[in-house]
């Protein structure tokens, strides 16, 4: 078991009477890459700002390494932040930016120079010491921001949507760099994003948030394969979320057709939601599957075809490398392991399906 590093205890925060975080509790361990994932306005950035010390919670406590730091000023905290818009000091060159924190701490000059070289090497920007931030590309500026944060040897690096302003290719490259950095530094990363792909790629642990609540926590695999509710299923990747009835253990009725599944313990004839990932929906020739349907739409996506199949009154999203032409009569077949059964939401908060991408 990893050592606990940060603990948020029953943290609440509201702005202008609007509740942003409601009684949020969260534990973050040492040397973990934790991602706070959710749509805009879900409270993920506020959570990060509370950890960074830029916001004080209305209620609750923040524990860092066993100490209560709830009202400690940001400059006294053993963590550093990489801001969304880089927030570089435009009147200083790259080296001066990186040296800022060390100079404040009155470190000796040769130590500072060593650290600058080390940090620039780490983010692949050696030789950029005397460039001004304004002359760098977005990706380079973000690397400088990361270098500026890590030279201070924080125990935790907070990253607030750091790749949001970069183009797709650069974003993917930076994802790998961040993973490498985290491994080399061996410190905890807390990463905020609304991009589920980013979260799945980089994280050890994902915290899905919506409307100030944690919807689900777990490894990327857990979150993707076993979403606990419709919000998580919908937010993480494309999926077919269908209202269904749990007939009995290991048998679920979806769109008036019985499917064998592996879930148990929901009781008999219980209304549930099921989620089936598009890549888990198999299309077979008529008569070979469970549910008859007709292909209504095909889009070529490169690695696979994205098809829409009308079956049982629902438009199924299907990903397959095998093409079925529009209008083709097919059957739908789903492997029992690939049907994820979820409880119906108990509160309205969980029911929010409107996701802004």
């Amino acid at each position: 078991m990893k050592k606990e590093l940060i603990r948020l205890e029953n943290v609440s925060k509201s702005y202008d009477g609007e509740l942003i975080l409601d009684d949020l509790s969260l534990t973050i361990h040492e040397n973990e890459f934790v991602t706070l994932l959710g749509p805009s306005g879900c409270g993920k950035t506020t959570t990060l700002r509370i950890i960074g010390g830029f916001e004080t919670p209305d209620k609750g406590r923040v524990i860092f390494d066993g100490e209560d730091i709830t009202s400690l000023a940001p400059n006294k905290r053993q963590l550093n932040t990489v801001f969304q818009k880089y927030a570089l000091f435009t009147h200083m060159d790259v080296a001066e930016n990186i040296a800022f924190g060390l100079k404040i701490k009155n470190k000796p000059q040769d130590y500072i120079e060593d650290r600058i070289n080390y940090a620039l090497k780490l983010v692949n920007l050696s030789g950029y010491e005397h460039r001004m931030p304004g002359s760098l590309s977005g990706g380079q500026q973000q690397r400088v921001a990361i270098a500026r944060a890590i030279v201070n040897e924080p125990k935790v690096l907070l990253l607030d949507e750091p790749l949001g302003a970069l183009d797709l290719k650069l974003r993917q490259d930076m994802q790998y760099e961040l993973i490498r950095l985290k491994e080399e530094l061996g410190i905890t990363f807390i990463y905020v994003t609304h991009d589920q792909e980013e979260a799945l790629t980089m994280s050890d642990h994902i915290v899905v948030m919506n409307q100030g609540y944690i919807q689900q926590e777990g490894s990327p695999e857990d979150i993707y394969n076993e979403p606990e509710n419709a919000f998580v299923a919908d937010f993480i990747g494309d999926s077919n979320i269908i209202k269904a009835t749990m007939v009995r253990d290991e048998l679920v009725n979806i769109l008036d057709t019985d499917f064998i599944c592996v879930d148990k313990g929901f009781g008999e004839n219980t209304p549930v939601d099921v989620v089936i990932r598009p890549e888990d929906v198999e299309l077979v020739e008529r008569g070979e599957g469970t549910l008859p349907g007709r292909v209504s739409h095909v889009i070529f996506k490169g690695v696979h075809y994205e098809m829409e199949v009308q079956a049982g009154g629902y438009a199924w999203l299907v990903h397959s490398t095998r093409l079925y032409e529009t209008g083709k009569e097919v059957d739908i077949k789903v492997d029992p392991f690939n049907i994820q059964v979820m409880n119906k939401p108990e509160s309205e908060d969980e029911e929010v399906l409107s996701v802004d991408d």
Partner: protein, 295 residues
């Protein structure tokens, strides 16, 4: 080709304007400045700045405008900080209130101060009523500084506020995050990042203050002569246009040197901010110009 023709056509009125109202007068100033009454070339008018009356007037003008500029800065900077940092509700109204005097004529405002500060003026009237000793403000250098500060303060507030409010919160947060306390953050981040605004504010207060003669005439009486007054009198009383032009050239060179120095300091500033500042400095120029014409 057509594009070029059109643009030449469109700019022609402005070219003509610049020629007639800027270049020709400037050429005349230089002609008069470098010639004597008979039209012979001479440097005497330029060298005249070395005469004690003139150099003292220039020195006094520099001293009073420096004092006014410093006071304007000390008043404007905290206001800019407060407004930029706290995003006060009604922020626009506060800014407008400070700018509001600019909507009134420059001479009228100065004239109003004259009535307030006169020995038998409003302020002493109130002091009399309260049985307090009268104060003698009018016709002192202090009155001139007061007039300068009152008239030119908005030109300091606007650029300083602009540059302070363009500093992103996350930059301040980043400095705090890297261990700087509030004082360190101010001196290492906020102040340096607002330097372009400070420079343009200083320029826009210092130059009109340096060249003013209206304020010093009205609030300083005829005893305190600034370089502006000296030049004015050469034209309107002594009718020695050559000397007046010569001294003007000296003052112009002095200002140009100042501008070049400040331009070098703000060179790395973004073009966006610069355009804002330029539009403000235009307002400043026209205001001071209006004052001059009406005299």
């Amino acid at each position: 080709m057509t594009d070029k023709k059109t643009s030449r056509l469109l700019t022609s009125p402005y070219t003509a304007w610049a020629l007639i109202f800027i270049l020709v007068p400037l050429a005349m100033v230089f002609y008069y400045g470098f010639t004597d009454a008979n039209g012979a070339l001479t440097l005497a008018n330029i060298k005249a700045i070395a005469e004690p009356v003139h150099s003292r007037a220039l020195l006094l003008a520099v001293v009073l405008s420096v004092i006014s500029t410093v006071i304007c800065f000390l008043l404007a900077y905290p206001l800019g900080m407060i407004l930029a940092k706290h995003r006060v509700t009604g922020q626009g109204i506060i800014i407008t209130l400070f700018i509001l005097p600019m909507w009134m004529n420059f001479l009228l405002r100065t004239l109003a101060w004259m009535t307030l500060l006169e020995n038998k003026g409003v302020i002493n009237g109130i002091l009399d009523l309260l049985h307090l000793p009268e104060v003698n403000i009018i016709n002192t250098p202090g009155a001139i500084v007061l007039g300068m500060v009152y008239n030119f303060l908005p030109f300091m507030i606007l650029p300083v506020y602009n540059s302070l409010s363009s500093i992103d919160d996350s930059v301040i947060n980043a400095a705090r995050d890297l261990g700087a306390d509030t004082v360190q953050t101010f001196f290492k981040i906020t102040l340096p990042l607002s330097v372009p605004g400070i420079i343009s504010g200083v320029t826009m207060v210092f130059i009109p203050a340096l060249t003013t003669f209206a304020i010093s005439t009205m609030l300083g009486g005829s005893k305190i002569l600034l370089i502006g007054n000296v030049i004015e009198q050469e034209f309107t009383l002594t009718y020695d246009w050559n000397l007046g032009a010569g001294l003007s050239i000296v003052l112009m060179v002095f200002i140009v040197v100042n501008m070049v120095v400040s331009a070098m300091a703000e060179r790395d500033d973004s073009s966006e901010k610069r355009s804002v500042r330029r539009s403000i400095s235009h307002t400043a120029g026209s205001d001071a110009g209006a004052g001059r014409e009406e005299r």
